[in-house]
């Protein structure tokens, strides 16, 4: 649905209320049209940032790590210098070390490797769907979207079943760092100051570290094929082993990134199908096109609103002088609605091709799990849609209070199965 553009003087991408109400889209539209490099003050003590909203600009920034570095951290938060090494993962690393660290596990996420998990995924999707459909009324997030990706992650990490709810809770707390319902300690709060040495200034990071270390100790020098075993037993190709801190943060990244975003993408996709019954019908008639449809789901969902870079030198962008050290925020969600790139961007067109969305980012930091997310989504919808006779939304949708993740907390639906 086409949003109403917000007046430029009311645009505020640092205001989390806007995102909780789902009203950022009209602001993105205004910025793309009127102020594509927009200075934004922050309300929590942050130093402010340049909001970049056009597709082409975002792509150029993401592909130019020399000018726009990730090493000064990639969320809006500015961790104190003394804690940066403790908190640094490959997200906040550039250059050859970044590549070497990515390559430790990158291939495990390639489609050719993931095909090994197809039977497992189909079985899991069927189990998830059949369990959910025992009732007509459900919260789609709880019943379907949340369990499925985390069960996949648990399989890849080879963690026991009883850890699953723990893994979901960890993901919620970390990604929901600015949502009081999810976070025990809100980012920016006084209490969070004592956790600034941890990722997302969250005490949960410490719990995740400790769990990762336990698994690492069990699996070191073993021949396990799971991701933890590979992470502890492989040496990056630059010959420099992961430091204990690098292992901690790599593990934390797998837990968080492999969990939350796919869930949001699935929830948004279902919502989009309910809102666009003709598209739902088209997909039911053309199940062999699910792979193409998933790309449109991903563009439409945009589960991650932004990632941040930091300018390393002075650059001019649309007449604005960006200084070295300035935070530059790439609003991927806005790029995915850029009318210069996508015809009728607010329309869900499941057969859209080409569909070069930026949901996974562009350039060297492109999401490592992109193919896993695609694979999970394809199999879930191939499993779910044939079982649905009718589906409707039965109550208000509630969103995560965050300008980082575009998350859905509750999504009540009624599904009549067939």
């Amino acid at each position: 649905m086409q949003p109403t553009p917000a007046p430029l003087d009311q645009v505020d991408l640092a205001d989390l209320d806007v995102f909780e109400r789902g009203e950022a889209w009209g602001m993105f539209d205004t910025l793309r049209r009127d102020d594509p490099a927009h200075w934004t003050e922050e309300h929590d003590g942050g130093s402010g940032f340049w909001a970049v909203t056009r597709y082409d600009d975002i792509e150029r920034i993401d592909k130019d790590p020399e000018t726009f570095t990730s090493t000064k951290f990639t969320n809006l938060e500015e961790p104190p210098e003394e804690f940066q090494e403790r908190r640094r993962s490959l997200l906040e690393t550039d250059g050859p070390r970044h590549l070497a660290m990515r390559k430790l596990l990158m291939r495990d996420f390639s489609p050719a490797q993931l095909r090994r998990y197809e039977d497992f995924l189909r079985g899991l999707a069927a189990l998830t769907v059949e369990t959910a459909l025992q009732q007509e009324e459900m919260d789609f997030v709880d019943a379907i979207a949340a369990d499925y990706p985390i069960a996949v992650l648990a399989r890849l990490l080879d963690t026991p079943d009883e850890m699953t709810s723990k893994l979901i809770g960890w993901g919620n707390e970390i990604i929901g760092f600015s949502d009081p319902e999810y976070a025990r300690v809100l980012i920016g709060s006084e209490e969070a100051q004592q956790y600034r040495h941890l990722p997302f200034s969250s005490p949960v990071s410490q719990e995740i570290y400790e769990y990762g270390r336990t698994l690492a100790a069990e699996r070191r020098d073993g021949d396990g094929e799971d991701l933890v075993s590979k992470l502890v037993n492989r040496v990056p190709e630059d010959g420099v082993p992961l430091t204990p801190e690098q292992f901690d943060n790599y593990f934390l990244l797998l837990i968080v990134a492999g969990n939350e975003t796919t869930r949001q993408a699935i929830s948004h996709s279902m919502k989009a199908l309910i809102d666009n019954p003709d598209q739902l019908q088209w997909l039911r008639d053309n199940p062999d096109k699910t792979q193409v449809a998933v790309e449109e789901f991903l563009r439409y969902a945009s589960p991650v609103y932004h990632f941040r870079r930091t300018a390393t030198r002075e650059v001019e962008l649309h007449g604005k002088q960006i200084k070295a050290g300035d935070k530059v925020v790439m609003w991927f969600a806005s790029g995915n609605r850029d009318e210069a790139k996508f015809e009728d961007p607010y329309a869900l067109r499941l057969d859209r091709m080409p569909n070069d969305h930026m949901t996974f980012g562009k350039g060297p930091h492109t999401c490592m799990g992109s193919n896993l997310a695609r694979f999970e989504m394809r199999i879930l919808f191939e499993t779910l849609l044939p079982r649905i006779a009718d589906i409707e939304q039965t109550g208000e949708l509630s969103r995560v209070r965050s300008n980082f993740v575009n998350g859905i907390k509750r999504f009540p639906v009624r599904i009549v199965s067939q």
Binding site: I61, D64, L99, M106, P111, E237, V240, T366, S370
Partner: protein, 323 residues
Amino acid sequence: MAETRPTLREHEAELVVASVTAVAEGVRELRLADQSGAGLPPWTPGAHVDLVLGGLVRQYSLCGDPTDASSYTVAVLREQESRGGSAFVHDQLAEGSRVTVRGPRNHFPLVSARSYRFIAGGIGITPLLPMIAEAEASGAEWHLTYGGRTRGSMAYTDLLAGYGERVTFAPADEVGLLDLDAILGCPGSDTLVYCCGPEPLLAAVEALCERAWPPGALHLERFAAKAAEAPATGERAFELVLAGSGVTLQVPPDKSVFDVIQDAGISVLGSCHEGICGTCEQAVLEGEVDHRDSVLNESEQAANDAMMVCVSRCLSDRLVLDL
């Protein structure tokens, strides 16, 4: 806005030959200095760099001081059957020459241990030199056995003599071949073996360690020369066979394998088109892949059984994919 370009490629710099020193018969040591003032990327013992030598690319171990960020040191033996690389170094490079250097990379890292046995054959001493310095500095137990044709052909003997009894020199014309049974007798559970040298030495050490040493104890480095090198200028064309589809196609220099497959109307998935995301991986049945992606690690690339068709090409004339 500033010109932007992806910087996925590894570090590449033009360095200046600061000194050339004869360190043994047929062996020249080059010190390659950075003149940009930006400093060179750090490296660890066992690392090597690529030197681009008049259209050829050759790998040489770094044998200098890892804490020196202003220059790299390599030692190059003039190979009798040189395909041009070592001859170029000996005949064409002099003080003041400029050389393009890529890397460093390390496939032969020194893993921390209480005790080491180092075995060098000839010019294979080069990666071991900084390892030995590190082992010594860390207080580890170590011993080096250093073989060569003749004493005069062995580089850095003066330097190594300073380590006293920890080093055994074994020139073949004086003592015959290395007594590997003795050198590798009594395996230690906290001892690692590091070996670099000619292929027959590596094979013999490998066979012995397989029988008597714990798995993982042996670390060795092979400089297997590629059958052909990518030309420094321009891409080459090659034939592409899609075995599953029964089609033979031509890949011209200016098109990617991905584009050629897609243009032929054959379904192939791709996403980033930069070798980052891994979407376009295809199984390789035949042909020597010129890997240029950022997905496969060194051993996965060496396995030559898969490639990212968006950026990687082929070094041989024919590439066969299982597609």
